[in-house]
């Protein structure tokens, strides 16, 4: 097939004179689908009255389509690799389009294929997927409530009290400001940590300590779907508030509302250059990514012409303020009718006369509300959600079912999440996911039972003035940075992908193992970690073998196989029946805990 889509009726574009320059900035001058679409190419500013005549810049070719033979997502590309063969086969083996009325019914019907050496435990599986790490207390709670009641409660996060750590998040001084307040103070308050750091710390604190775990998981999913990273020009102020005011606000609401809010927030509008886009010189960045990343996805049926039309339509979305960064309003969203392109628009089945600049924002919202409800957008959303929660390669059948739930519920997210947990495929896929680097570290912190209090020997930093809580989270942030996959800090418009084959690296794992060693030896006293001995029940079991069993139960929620136990005991060079009090064994406890948290049972989820 031809690599570039060149419709017949445009193949004989005549050689153009002055107008050909219009093509250089990609202006819409093409009839899309036969409908005449206005062109503003005559207003191009490239040449003044005395400018040189653009005598011969050559013919304009037809607008370039996306390559329909190419992959349509990062996940798809990675999962088609040969090294993903086992993952694909496992996913195929658990494929099912059955969605039942209750999660527990689906769990009962599913035939989970658990790899050898892994526990077959639906409660552990649920904890591994719906939370950021299975702790003994969490497992006990799900067990006592039952799977259905626990999920119901998680889907009503307001019914779950804030934990001590969530209350402590208010110690981060910038996190509760409004965007305008933050814009006004950020450059005068020199002692404050950056808002970008604070937002990361608040995010990781919630992942570790919030009891609203499923909500935080969905927030994490939406963060990667509409990614506004913390570090871009002017983004260090607006991006954290994008996370709070758009993502968190709508994570359990309607995805359409989230996206409509997103295009009206300074964070996204600045990041994807929409604020620089002018009707005479449209900037395509947000228009393109809204189609490719936020709605229908690459391969979702749009053309370059659609992108250009959308770029024209979206002009007017901007921010208030001049160039002075201390201007209090600089970072807040504003619609600027004067900068809104007017004229008929046609994009993926959406057409509008778009005649009034004053009503431009309403047309833009109508357009977003249109594309976010297209079948391709439903599929793209469903596939990403299932990839996040079910397996690296969810079945098309499940994706189709979830896409239908998305459309049937007018893009409401909670029903899709509930349907996903009620699918047989979900329950048939234990340990099919690998923790991403950041999730791995968070899960380790949770499994170790870190507390948001200081440990003895903690010395506060001299400056900037920072609470111990913030200081502890800052330390963790440094480790995340070294591991390379920092939540809410993905630097490109696509969020962090979530398939194992994208993260097959050894150094982030070894960095996490080092951190285990560090915290178990008291290296991070701003937070309270247990010692390795504290991880054992009191009084300690009498033999080394019994201690290893207890440690495995504590950290990876399973009794080790005899081979696993022998490997763990080999670290201390002792036998299973050796007394636990032996110096060699006690000295090796940290390393045994490290090996358990490094094990496949901890890495996979």
């Amino acid at each position: 097939m031809t690599p570039q889509h060149r419709p017949e009726h445009r193949s004989a574009t005549p050689r153009l004179g002055r107008r050909s320059f219009a093509s250089l900035v990609g202006f819409a001058s093409v009839a899309a689908g036969g409908a005449v679409v206005a062109s503003n190419s005559d207003r191009l500013p490239f040449f003044g009255a005395d400018g040189p005549p653009p005598s011969d810049v050559g013919p304009r070719t037809e607008a370039v389509s996306l390559n329909t033979s190419a992959n349509t997502s990062v996940e798809q590309s990675y999962m088609d690799a040969k090294s993903a063969t086992e993952l694909r086969k496992a996913a195929e083996a658990s494929a099912s389009d059955v969605i039942l009325s209750r999660p527990s019914a689906a769990a009962a019907q599913a035939k989970a294929s658990v790899p050898e050496g892994f526990p077959n435990d639906p409660i552990l599986h649920l904890a591994n997927r719906a939370t950021f790490g299975a702790t003994p207390a969490l497992l006990a709670r799900i067990k006592s409530m039952g799977i259905d009641a626990w999920i119901d409660q998680q889907l009503k996060p307001d019914s779950i009290p804030y934990t001590t750590a969530e209350v402590k998040i208010k110690e981060l001084p910038g996190i509760h400001l409004t965007l305008a307040q933050a814009s006004a103070t950020i450059h005068t308050n020199k002692v404050m940590d950056s808002l970008a750091d604070e937002y990361l710390w608040a995010t990781t604190a919630r992942m570790i300590w919030s009891d609203r775990q499923l909500f935080e998981r969905v927030v994490d999913f939406c963060t990667d779907r509409i990614n506004v990273p913390m570090h871009f020009d002017f983004g260090s102020v607006s991006a954290p508030y994008f996370g709070r005011d758009v993502i968190r606000k709508h994570a359990f609401g309607k995805y359409a509302d989230m996206l409509v809010a997103a295009v009206q927030h300074a964070g996204l509008v600045i990041y994807l250059n929409q604020s620089q886009s002018q009707k005479a010189r449209p900037n395509e960045n947000l228009a393109r990514e809204l189609l490719e990343l936020h709605t229908v996805g690459a391969g979702g049926g749009y053309t370059e012409e659609d992108v250009r039309q959308a770029a024209l339509l979206q002009t007017g979305l901007g921010v208030i303020g001049g160039k002075v960064v201390t201007d209090a309003g600089h970072y807040t969203f504003a619609f600027r009718p004067n900068n809104h392109y007017t004229g008929p628009i046609k994009i993926m089945g959406f057409s509008h006369p778009n005649a009034s600049a004053d009503k431009g924002l309403e047309v833009i919202k109508a357009y977003v509300n249109h594309v976010v409800r297209l079948p391709a957008a439903a599929k793209s959303f469903a596939r990403e959600l299932a990839t996040k929660f079910v397996s690296d390669k969810p079945s098309d059948a499940l994706v189709d079912k979830l896409a239908k739930v998305y459309l049937d519920n007018d893009t409401a997210i909670v029903p899709v999440v509930r349907a996903m947990f009620s699918s047989v495929e979900f329950w048939a896929s234990p340990f099919a996911k690998m923790h991403r680097p950041s999730e791995y570290l968070v899960s380790i912190y949770r499994k170790l039972g870190v507390q948001p209090q200081t440990a003895p020997g903690y010395k506060p930093p001299s400056a900037p003035a920072r609470t111990p809580f913030a200081d502890g989270l800052r330390g963790m942030g440094t480790v995340l940075n070294n591991m390379g996959q920092v939540p809410v800090h993905r630097g490109t418009p696509d969020g962090w992908s979530d398939v194992a084959t994208a993260y097959l690296g050894i150094s982030w794992m070894s960095t996490a193992w080092t951190e285990i060693d560090f915290v178990l030896r008291g290296g991070r006293p701003a937070l309270r970690f247990p010692t390795a001995a504290n991880l054992l029940p009191s009084p300690q079991p009498a033999t080394a073998g019994a201690c290893v069993d207890a440690l495995a139960q504590r950290l990876v929620a399973q009794k080790p196989t005899s081979a696993q136990r022998a490997l763990l005991l080999s670290i201390a060079e002792v036998g299973a029946d050796s007394p636990a009090s032996a110096t060699a064994f006690q000295g090796a406890l940290v390393d045994i805990a490290k090996a358990l948290l490094a094990s496949p049972q901890s890495l996979l989820r």
Partner: protein, 458 residues
């Protein structure tokens, strides 16, 4: 096969001094028969699949060409012996190719531009290279951010290629990066990255044969082989009580043994890499010849220099650096955004080649990006385009300072620089020049792409 290689059952071999080894052995034996069955099944399926894909009879390429999945997990159980000492392993070609990818679509015309060009003056008045630009040859001027590389440029060790792309590449970042990484469309590349297919032609060496530097494993290296993926050499190491260190690593290896998940391969390869890296980083690294590493590119390349100067036989490196999606506030001149990125790149490369000294002779870097940007500015930035600029830097003499075809800016592709010089033809030609590959070997790596007609090396 693997069982007898690793832990021979012959008499006299049974007494292993280290309890960790004993435990490992027990783990292997416990799973050996199961694994053998899985492996046989896997290899059979793999052969059949491959044969079906290629429309031919069953071959053993799946076995010899670099085992995958379960097969690799088992084959790499040999780590305990064959990969224990990289110096004793085959040293490979002794050549190194470093693939640097500029993520976000670097504006080629902000990097290298025809000098004094009337079209550029007309359509990108805010993004013209100023008078500090370095005149090269054929009328091109180079962004002065490359000044740190001037000595290498003057010595003929740096070549710039304009108008590089492929007509398969669309204007989507993701799709173009993906196609660049695969070296073609998915249907043409069978799910393997181009550097992964290149490894098929280099033969096995050590854990360090292919190294990805970055948080995510580049798609270029995903396929048949198991690359070593690290954030930096320094990050590769495990802190702990020295008394238990080695036995802890062994225990972790054992816990992953036989795992039917690609993470098993990562551990099997990675543990030996950790041991090597711990040796290399046990003393502070001292760059040679006054080299000073700064910035993101320099930091990444320092890890590579450390490996190469430590005589680790690295053949393929992949690195990626972002920030090039300059829709606004592009800044091509001193102090500007693009200038700063290119300056970071130039400083990193200059430090690296200085540091390598005579080892530079065997080292070649190719720098590419997913596409160039539109010829006309949108205001103070540029939108997505087509033909971009590639850079080759080598310790060897190159064919020129500006190589490849250039037809000027009068004939454009949809307002963009056309794909005069084929991206994949260029990749293939550079790889061929570095490793001395035959034409048919290059054809295996890039089955559907014409070789470029111009020379790379002088």
């Amino acid at each position: 096969m693997m069982g007898s290689n690793v832990y021979p059952n012959g008499r006299g071999q049974e007494k292993l001094p280290d309890p960790a080894e004993v435990a490992l052995r027990a783990a292997y034996e416990a799973t050996a028969s199961n694994n053998a069955a899985i492996r046989d099944d896997f290899l059979r399926l793999s052969d059949v699949e491959e044969a079906q894909q290629e429309g031919r009879g069953v071959t053993r390429r799946a076995v010899v060409g670099g085992a995958v999945g379960a097969a690799a997990a088992l084959a790499t159980a040999e780590f305990a012996v064959t990969k224990a000492a990289y110096a004793a392993a085959p040293t490979g070609s002794g050549k190194t190719l470093i693939n640097i990818f500029l993520v976000g679509a670097c504006d080629g015309l902000g990097l290298l531009a025809p000098g004094d060009d009337a079209i550029l003056k007309a359509v990108r008045p805010n993004l013209l290279l100023d008078r500090t630009a370095i005149p090269l040859e054929r009328g091109f001027v180079l962004n002065s951010a490359f000044t740190p590389l001037k000595p290498l440029i003057d010595a003929g060790r740096v070549a710039f290629v304009p108008a590089v792309s492929d007509n398969k590449l669309p204007r989507s970042h993701f799709q173009s990066i993906d196609i660049c990484s695969l070296g073609g469309l998915p249907s043409e590349t069978k799910g393997t990255g181009w550097l992964d297919r290149l490894l098929d032609n280099l033969g096995p060496t050590t854990t360090f044969q292919a190294v990805n530097i970055g948080a995510q494993t580049s798609r270029t290296l995903v396929g048949n082989h198991v690359p070593l993926s690290i954030a930096s050499l320094k990050a590769l190491g495990v802190r702990g009580d020295a008394r238990y260190h080695e036995r802890t690593l062994k225990a972790i290896e054992g816990l992953f043994h036989g795992l039917a998940h690609p993470a098993g391969d990562v551990i099997a390869n990675g543990m030996q890499a950790i041991r090597t890296a711990e040796k290399l980083t046990s003393t502070a690294y001292k760059p040679a010849n006054g080299a000073v590493y700064t910035g993101a590119v320099g930091t990444g390349l320092q890890s590579v220099a450390q490996l190469l100067r430590g005589d680790v036989p690295v053949e393929v490196i992949n690195m990626a650096f972002g920030g090039y999606d300059t829709h606004a506030a592009e800044g091509v001149n001193s102090g500007g955004h693009l200038y700063n990125l290119l300056s970071d790149l130039a400083k990193g490369l200059a430090a690296f080649f200085a540091d390598l000294g005579t080892k530079a002779q065997n080292t070649t870097v190719i720098v590419t990006t997913e596409f160039g940007r539109r010829v006309a500015q949108n205001n103070d930035g540029t939108d997505h385009g087509h033909g971009g600029v590639a850079i080759v830097v080598s310790g060897r003499k190159l064919a020129g300072k500006v190589i490849g075809g250039w037809k000027g800016l009068k004939e454009l592709d949809n307002g963009d620089v056309p794909a005069t010089n084929n991206m994949f033809g260029l990749y293939g030609k550079v790889a061929q020049g570095v490793f001395g590959l035959t034409d048919s070997a290059v054809k295996k790596v890039f089955p559907n792409n014409p070789a470029v007609s111009f020379s790379i090396f002088g």
